[in-house]
């Protein structure tokens, strides 16, 4: 099997067009897609109504208690008055105290959370309005001149520090871009090794050698996984370098203390090893699916037709996880590839959900067993493995199905 893997890998790695495509696809495609999706979500957050968001507030001075009604009127939030002011990531926190007879606001939020940002955008005019009212009252009461007062802008404090957003974006972006690279490379490699080798009759020739059919398929499978991992590693390294460069220059432009951005928040052993582990698992599953799909085709053209729908679905699955409203659930845990990508997101975000991760492991193993038990035997059959049929692809599938039904 080692020699076979060596042959397949050498042949694939020398395919310059395929290599170029595998690297270029994620580099061009993914940042645009990621940016588009996050923008879309930030703007079109109509689904925010479906999610409960708690706004914890504390009004220290009874003179400002009328602000309570304004706070409570913000749509889509569950306002909760609190005496102990301990901000955390799970809600929006406002502390209203008095400073020189005027309200002083302390706002804490998770600025990477679209729902909190939306709620805050509704809340801010109310807070500013209340402040204006109090200034006007003070002017009248104490006969001050209006010019004495400057309208100050409320600056909410991001609960995780100002590096949080960039850390979150990058820690998701980098592994996810590598996922796209893995998907693209595995799809191309599967078509080449399964359908292409049927078309070129190299599989046929290989099977006349003293080798086991299963070994030949496993060799193809392992080659595809290795090729996918290599592509993933190359793009992972490439993306990390590019991202560091882009974000460093962006941070420099933003200036104001952001230049000391701590890269170890993202590029650390834990994140890299977790990402690589997840990428390996994803490569394993995707290879199983693609090799099986491409195995039903006896020509590259047919292979591409068969693999394309799977590519589209599997490519979009990891992208789905950037949607902030998506909470871990059993359906995500049941969906191959998506579940692993989602688990990776949770682990990197330090939001470990043991039940979800266990469900993911159980369902992933189940999928692997099902694929091996029910689809793998199909691949061993001579019409499928060797592509012996001049009939059309649909006919071939029908033929396979009718035989299967007979059995």
């Amino acid at each position: 099997m080692k020699t076979l893997i060596e042959i397949y890998l050498k042949d694939l790695l020398r395919n310059k067009m395929m290599g170029l495509m595998v690297i270029l696809v994620p580099v061009i495609f993914y940042p645009l897609l990621y940016w588009g999706i996050t923008q879309f979500i930030m703007i079109k957050n109509g689904f925010a109504e479906n999610r409960d968001l708690t706004l914890h507030y504390k009004i220290e001075n009874p003179e400002f208690s009328s602000l309570e009604d304004s706070i409570r009127s913000v749509s889509g939030i569950d306002a909760s008055k609190t005496q102990q002011f301990k901000p955390d990531k799970n809600g929006l926190y406002i502390n209203v105290s008095m400073f020189n007879d005027l309200p002083r606001y302390e706002v804490y939020l998770d600025s990477s959370n679209a729902f909190q940002m939306k709620a805050y955008s509704e809340l801010e005019p109310k807070l500013s309005g209340f402040y204006e009212t109090k200034i006007n009252e003070l002017i009248v009461r104490k006969n001050y001149k209006k010019e004495y007062f400057k309208v100050y802008k409320i600056e909410p404090v991001n609960i995780d520090g100002r590096n949080e957003i960039i850390t979150k974006v990058l820690s998701l972006l980098i592994p996810l871009m590598s996922v796209i690279s893995i998907l693209a490379s595995i799809a191309a490699a599967s078509v080449e090794l399964a359908s292409g080798h049927s078309e070129d009759k190299t599989t046929e020739t290989t099977l006349t050698l003293p080798l086991n059919r299963k070994d030949v398929i496993f060799a193809k499978f392992i080659t595809v996984v290795i090729y996918g991992m290599l592509a993933g590693l190359i793009s992972f390294t490439f993306i990390v370098v590019i991202m560091m460069h882009i974000f460093t220059s962006m941070i420099d432009k933003i200036g104001a203390g952001m230049a000391d951005f701590d890269w170890s928040l993202i590029i650390n052993f834990r994140n890299i090893s977790l990402s690589l582990l997840s990428l390996t698992i994803i490569a394993f599953f995707v290879s199983m699916i693609f090799i099986t799909a491409a195995g039903f085709a006896s020509k590259r053209k047919e292979g591409n037709i068969l693999v394309s729908p799977f590519s589209a679905i599997i490519t979009y699955l990891p992208i789905v996880i950037v949607i902030p409203a998506l909470e871990p659930n059993i359906f995500i845990a049941m969906t191959p590839v998506l579940n692993i990508a989602f688990a990776l997101k949770l682990v990197i975000a330090d939001d470990i959900n043991t039940v979800f991760i266990l469900e993911t492991l159980v369902f992933s193993s189940l999928w692997a067993v099902l694929l091996y038990r029910f689809l793998f035997p199909f691949l061993l059959e001579e019409e499928v493995l060797l592509g012996y049929s001049n009939t059309s692809l649909t006919k071939k599938i029908k033929m396979k199905m009718s035989r299967w039904k007979k059995k």
Binding site: T206, L207, L209
Partner: protein, 257 residues
Amino acid sequence: MEEKIIIKNLNKEFYDPQRGIVKAVDNLSFSAFKGEIFGLLGPNGAGKTTTLRMMATLMKPNSGSIEIAGYDTEKNPQDVRRSIGYMSSSTALYPRLSPREIITYFAELNDFPQNELAMRVEQLIKYFNIGEYADTYSEKLSTGMKQITSIARTIVHNPPVLILDEPSSGLDVIVAQKIHTYILDLKNEGKTIIFSSHNMGEVEKICDRIGIIDNGKLLTVGTIDELRKISGKYYMEEIFIYFVKEFEEKVYNAHQN
């Protein structure tokens, strides 16, 4: 004479959604001896390739048996594979591997002794005159060069039986001539060679015995002189048409009755 290939009552059926069960090979029996070139001649779809594929253990027969170099294809497929060199109708080379790499890898896959491997590869490169393009990716080679590489790869492990599916199809006369010379050399080394072809002249020129096949049935087997005697024709093309037409008439009459 030692029988290297024995085929007995071989049958192979395919399922086609439109045509139902199709008989690709119908009760086929023949044998080939050591040091013999056996030509399998037949029109398109006659069942030649299916027969060769079953001999090469790629397909399993529905019934009947194939024995190659003393091994049954169903009972001892791995031993059969060790005893054969199979060349498919296309060159079947890995496009981005050079002839040297392909020949070396196939020797390794055939469990060729590691200490003799380099010498064997060089010997074949020299014999087939591959040296000039031995390190060029096969996708950049001409059809003739590919075909010669393919033959070298097929015989690298020195098997006693060679199964060649249309080895000279699509080649120009000069390359085809070279391939015929190589095949005759291999026969002189004592190898049993079975090959299929459409080319009547080629079959007439190099085959010791010829089997004509149509609709999965073996119509006749014999040396060229024997076939001439039976058919009363001289040229291979006429002999072939004679047997195929005779068979078609028989089938027609059977349907009429």
